[in-house]
Symmetry: C2
């Protein structure tokens, strides 16, 4: 059915080896020969058999991506960034969803990927050690793992900016909704965002009241629960720093439902710059999810294609001031 390299060779009057070199643009092929091979291939509508090429060369032209989610804002955008880079490099992206970092241990990828991208898997998860045994370059997102490339963001600095903003507006009773310690959220992320908050509070001479720090389980619903809890505190906080936009949306909903106004009665800052943040008019710390995915892919591609060493890059974040923050009333 499909033409083989032999068919092309016969038609062009050369050997299979020459066809292989000509088609891949290798040097040491005369221009006239290359031209003859190209047109023979075109006439026969020939494409290389990927399986045969992979078997013979050992190169898979494929990168495996292991992610806990595809439908959450951050992951969806990261995957988009990765795919664009791989598509441009003519690499395939094979997608594995693994919600808890344990189901894979990389066996399904053995001998079929040139590299792996781990999206926010903790260093001690079984998949990470499984991936090591693959013997291919690995990139890790938001988690720094020995021997792997990684792309990080400045969580401490970002949270600090958000908190400083609230302090500068004159807030004193500032609450925080934290990320869950779900396997999908690196321990580091939640810890660093809390750390940035603490540093800024301390620098401002403000107390971090433990009753005003509540876990939001990383979801919109969790944000609603956390928000409800914070609104029941007396006296109520005048501002809330929420460690992710999705949770912040839940908090905003609860504030409105309680008949309070944002920012008049209470200010809210999120983290991410989710696309719905502008709809909610949410002040937030922006991180470039798509660019993070793209850069992670580039790092690993550099290792695969140019034998570059693992690289680590840290992105800075920036504050986007919208309508959910204002000075406290009275």
């Amino acid at each position: 059915m499909n033409a083989s390299i032999e068919d092309v060779a016969r038609r062009a009057g050369v050997s299979a080896g020459t066809v292989s070199r000509a088609l891949r643009g290798l040097p040491n092929v005369s221009e006239s020969t290359r031209a003859r091979v190209m047109s023979a291939a075109a006439e026969l509508n020939y494409t290389v058999s990927p399986s045969a090429s992979r078997l013979a060369s050992g190169r898979m032209s494929t990168i495996g991506v292991i992610t806990p989610f595809v439908s959450r804002w951050f992951f969806a955008h990261v995957i988009h960034g990765i795919e664009e880079v791989l598509q441009a490099a003519h690499f395939d992206l094979v997608l594995y969803i693994d919600e808890d970092g344990t189901t894979f241990q990389s066996l399904p990828m053995r001998r079929k990927v040139d590299g792996v991208l781990l999206l926010t898997l903790p260093p001690d998860s079984p998949d990470v050690s499984g991936v090591r045994t693959l013997g291919v370059p690995v990139g890790s997102l938001h988690v720094d793992i020995e021997g792997f490339s990684s792309v990080l963001i400045d969580d401490v600095g970002g949270s600090s900016m958000a908190t400083d903003h609230l302090v500068a507006l004159g807030h004193h009773r500032i609450a925080m909704v934290t990320l869950d310690q779900h396997p999908s959220v690196p321990f580091r992320t939640g810890r660093d965002r809390s750390e940035g908050f603490r540093r800024s509070m301390e620098a401002a001479g403000l107390e971090v009241n433990p009753h005003l720090v509540v876990n939001g389980e990383s979801t919109v619903e969790g944000g609603m629960r956390a928000g409800a809890e914070l609104l029941s505190r007396a006296p109520r906080p005048t501002a809330i720093f929420v460690q992710s936009d999705e949770m912040a949306m839940g908090v905003l909903h609860i504030i409105r439902r309680a008949g309070l106004r944002c920012p008049e009665d209470i200010s809210v800052v999120g983290f991410d710059d989710h696309e719905l943040s502008s709809v909610f008019d949410l002040t937030t710390v922006a991180q470039p999810a798509r660019a993070e995915g793209a850069l992670l892919a580039h790092h690993v591609l550099d290792q695969v294609q140019r034998n570059a060493p693992p690289q680590t890059t840290t992105f800075t974040t920036h504050l986007v001031i919208r309508g959910t923050t204002a000075p406290p009333q009275g």
Copy 2:
């Protein structure tokens, strides 16, 4: 480095052919032989070389997925559903993002997938004809294409339910925000949702006012623009049927920003049941995105594995009544 089938054969004292049969669970292998092969393989930490197996058998154990987006609610959930089914069947999912249905024409998939899933690509897009030349089973989502499996939803019925609900509440001036004719949205979807609206309006003896039908470009921002336009009409509509939840969120935002209340001043119904719909308390028509993806994968897997004929399934939708709809004032 990696043990080969010959290594296992030697260790088990059998031929490579027998190892191949034993490991794949084929019949006609004595239990004692199979046991010996299994333990030899385990001792050598052997896994089949995918490239070699694919080359020899012609089976790729891989399904290609072509999608215009990964970060929109519907597509992200569909992909999640697909991945779960493929993972369970031990098939790889290779992901191709193609925003306009023209960049692929399937060449990158040639000879490396056993089947293809097209997410909402119009029948006349270049990728569709490219995919045909692959000669493998194809599944198409939300678009019925000759010779392909497909999964559809009852857009007419769903929109009709939404409209009937508004009519039953007593609304007469009902507006509609339509989906864009972007390549990512099948022509059929927008047309059918408009058709359901028209039928219900007609059945209720109500006029469809062309000034109250506005395009929302399928996005939150487009919904905001469309909403602003509708609010400027005099007299204002008392209810709006919006063909997607993402656009409906934009409409809700504009209503609030204009100082109007929903549902007191104006009712809104969406379509999808996006996870943020509950946060917005949005009445909407629910479609099971994840289940749609899963079923589409099953249909194509049935063709690939059991040589089943193409199948078409239509999902029904249902109305989820929340807080954005109420009888008109006065």
